[in-house]
């Protein structure tokens, strides 16, 4: 089995703030991390490799320093990493990004055909959740989003059975391989990487592919290939109001009763 995982370097969202005047993200000086969903995708791919055998390759589009997320993936147990990096990719929106990644994956597949592609559910810096499905559409393979649990892979028949996380329910579904999955964080727990992986990652130098190495059309990449225009980004207004029911200290039981009455009246909870 060949598992390919798309990973992205993102600013650590716990440290990003929105500039209240210009409504843009303040990214300066903010440390970069692997997109958290992608980390879980790598973890899952490595688990499947351990179970069914094969190889995990990660692929990322980004500036030279995105090499770090590839090294991070090697720490988790990925075997190889490819960085798609070229000035011409700069400014790509989700359409162009999914195109570049697809072309990279196609090139990779010439060498080693893939069985399963993983993406994170979305990237925490843009929250669009479009790149994964974009790649699946371009590759014309099934896409399975919000994957919560992989039950099994049938290596002979090349099928996968998994659970998708939907609002208020789970969907159990089977699909033919090759397929593309986007995963949620509940899928697994990240492992504490063993030292040999850490050492391997510290030494690892990913292959870097530019427009010289993969086949891309100039008008489909970078700003030229990006029809999306971001009008405005803003922090949602702080929630207003709220009501505090007093007396909790002195008379907790009575106060709790009042709270329940209110919740019933507002139909926030149901009366049996």
């Amino acid at each position: 089995m060949h598992f390919v995982v798309c990973v992205k370097q993102v600013p650590d969202s716990s440290e990003v703030r929105v500039d209240p005047e210009t409504n843009t993200l303040i990214r300066e000086g903010v440390p970069s991390i692997i997109n958290p969903y992608d980390a879980h995708a790598v973890e899952e791919a490595v688990r499947l490799k351990e179970k069914y055998g094969g190889k995990v390759t990660v692929i990322s589009m980004g500036p030279p320093q995105a090499e770090e997320v590839i090294r991070k993936s090697i720490q988790f147990g990925a075997d190889e990493g490819i960085l798609l990096s070229d000035r011409k990719f700069a400014g790509s929106d989700t359409l162009a990004t999914s195109y570049v990644l697809t072309q990279g994956i196609k090139k990779l597949a010439e060498r080693e055909p893939f069985d399963l592609i993983f993406c994170g559910k979305q990237a925490i810096d843009g929250d669009t959740a479009q790149v994964g499905p974009g790649i699946a559409a371009r590759l014309k393979i099934p896409q399975l989003t919000y994957v919560l649990n992989i039950e099994e892979i049938n290596v002979e028949e090349k099928t996968i059975k998994l659970h998708r996380k939907l609002e208020g329910m789970r969907e159990v579904i089977s699909a033919k391989l090759p397929a593309l999955l986007t995963v949620v964080q509940d899928l697994n727990e990240l492992r504490y990487a063993p030292l040999p992986n850490m050492i391997r990652a510290a030494r690892y130098r990913p292959q870097v592919w530019t427009t010289e190495n993969i086949e891309v059309e100039d008008d489909k990449i970078g700003l030229n290939g990006s029809p999306t225009a971001v009008r405005k980004i803003f922090a949602p207004p702080e929630r207003e109001g709220g009501e505090i029911i007093p007396g909790g200290q002195e008379n907790p039981e009575e106060t709790a009763r009042k709270l329940v009455e209110r919740l019933l009246k507002e139909e926030i909870i149901a009366d049996k």
Binding site: P31, Y192, A193, P194, L195, P196, M198, I199, A202, R203
Partner: protein, 432 residues
């Protein structure tokens, strides 16, 4: 079968990075462990970085390292409740290349510095704690990290773990551990402030920096100092006091810092600033008498782990780097003959003894003990000095001789002439 390294370094602060950089550069297979997310992530310093010792490791570092301002002015402020007596030195000589000292952020500087070691060939492993040493027949032959399959073997282990010297203690080199009279606790805030404001308040031009060390009311009279350093567009403001005194007086360091920031003389300097970061750290203040044995079979100890800090002169990073350098030289020599036992590594001790590190620490060996048992030096004298200055600067028709008498009276009402003479004599003995 795991691979073997020539050098294992624990801790990517200035001491460890220096050793790793130099041994890797000399072609020794070097691995450097750091428990933080990246080197410098948790490291704290005022911080003034000195050019000469740093250049002894990396020539011309100041042309590319992430530095804040070059220091052209250093001040000492002796604070009382509402007043200050100031002394300072400003020079154009330190305003030109290659400069004398710089203000820095350790989270940036250490990261850059460690990257240099990586470029020289050292393997940097972050987010990994070294938990113990591996022994073989009275010889340290490697380390155990907290990770699965985490043992690593090497010819020599360099303990550059900083003030919290757990492994140095485990190696049996620091048998009694550390006590609270040998440690200062320091807290610091980074306060963002417009560049223009910093430059006008501190009388600086672009790129120039100033430092202020504060004593007296700055530490509420405890043994310790406070500091205000100018960065490019922020101030580093902090205060440190001896742990034993902080415990005895039940003042938490946080309160000390708030007290300093709200001091009527200090507050205007910080006005309009926004606190960006809050940091805390210990400083080894035990000096010469607290230095552990710094080598044993297969081990050397460098930097703060070996207590190499001169608190009186605010020197630590320089001692860390130079001790790291002397350790590297010793290891490179030991590597040539293939011996890493006590005898081979004892050259490190000899090099240290011939350097300013041991000489300076020896010079002040009784100072911290003296100050720690004589609280009044940090509380009484600053206050008296300020009162004397008040008397001296007030023009009120009182003859000068009368003023001098009043000052003397004021001083001797607090402490007898004999006691003062004794303080001066003892102070001179420990400092001179």
């Amino acid at each position: 079968m795991s691979e073997k390294y020539d050098v294992i370094v624990v801790g990517a602060g200035p001491a460890g990075v220096t050793t790793a950089y130099l041994t890797a550069k000399a072609g020794l297979k070097t691995i450097l462990f750091e428990r933080g997310d990246h080197p410098g992530a948790k490291n704290v310093m005022g911080g003034v970085l000195y050019r000469k010792p740093t250049e002894d490791v990396i020539a011309n570092f100041w042309k590319e390292a992430p530095l804040e301002r070059h220091v052209i002015e250093q001040n000492l402020w002796i604070l009382d409740k509402n007043s200050v007596v100031k002394a300072g030195y400003r020079t154009k000589a330190q305003d030109q290349e290659p400069y004398n000292a710089f203000t820095v952020f350790r989270s940036r500087f250490d990261r850059w510095f460690a990257q240099k070691a990586v470029e020289a060939g050292a393997l940097l492993i972050t987010e990994t704690v070294v938990e113990d040493l591996i022994w073989d027949n009275h010889f340290v032959v490697g380390v155990k990290t907290g990770r699965p399959q985490g043992d690593v073997y090497g010819s020599v282990v360099v303990l550059a773990e900083g003030v919290n010297s757990m492994l140095t203690q485990k190696a049996g080199l620091q048998k009694d551990g550390l006590n609270t009279a040998q440690l200062a606790v320091a807290v610091k805030e980074v306060i963002a402030l417009d560049k223009e404001k910093i430059e006008s308040r501190f009388n600086l031009e672009e790129g120039q920096g100033a430092t202020i060390e504060l004593v007296g009311d700055a530490t509420m009279g405890m043994m310790g100092t406070a500091f205000i350093y100018t960065n490019t567009d922020s101030l580093s403001v902090g205060v440190g006091a001896l742990l034993s005194q902080v415990v005895r007086q039940k003042i938490n360091p946080n309160e000390l810092l708030e007290h300093l920031k709200n001091h009527p003389i200090v507050r205007p300097l910080l006005e309009g600033g926004e606190t960006k970061e809050y940091l805390g750290h210990l400083i080894p203040e035990g000096g010469y008498n607290a230095i552990p044995k710094v080598y044993t079979n297969g081990v050397v100890v460098v930097g703060d782990a070996a207590q190499f800090v001169n608190g009186i002169h605010r020197e630590g990073s320089n001692m860390a780097m130079i001790s790291g350098k002397l350790a590297a030289e010793t290891i490179i020599d030991a590597h040539k003959i293939g011996e890493f036992d006590e005898r081979a590594l004892s050259h490190y001790q000899k090099k240290l003894s011939n350097s300013f590190i041991i000489k300076d620490l020896k010079k002040y060996q009784n100072a911290s003990g003296f100050f720690e048992t004589n609280d009044h030096i940090f509380s009484l004298y600053p206050s008296l000095l300020n009162k004397a200055a008040e008397e001296f600067t007030t023009v009120d028709n009182v003859p000068k001789r009368e003023k001098q008498r009043r000052i003397m009276e004021l001083v001797t009402s607090e402490r007898s002439k004999l006691e003062i003479l004794r303080d001066i004599y003892r102070g001179w003995r420990v400092m001179g």
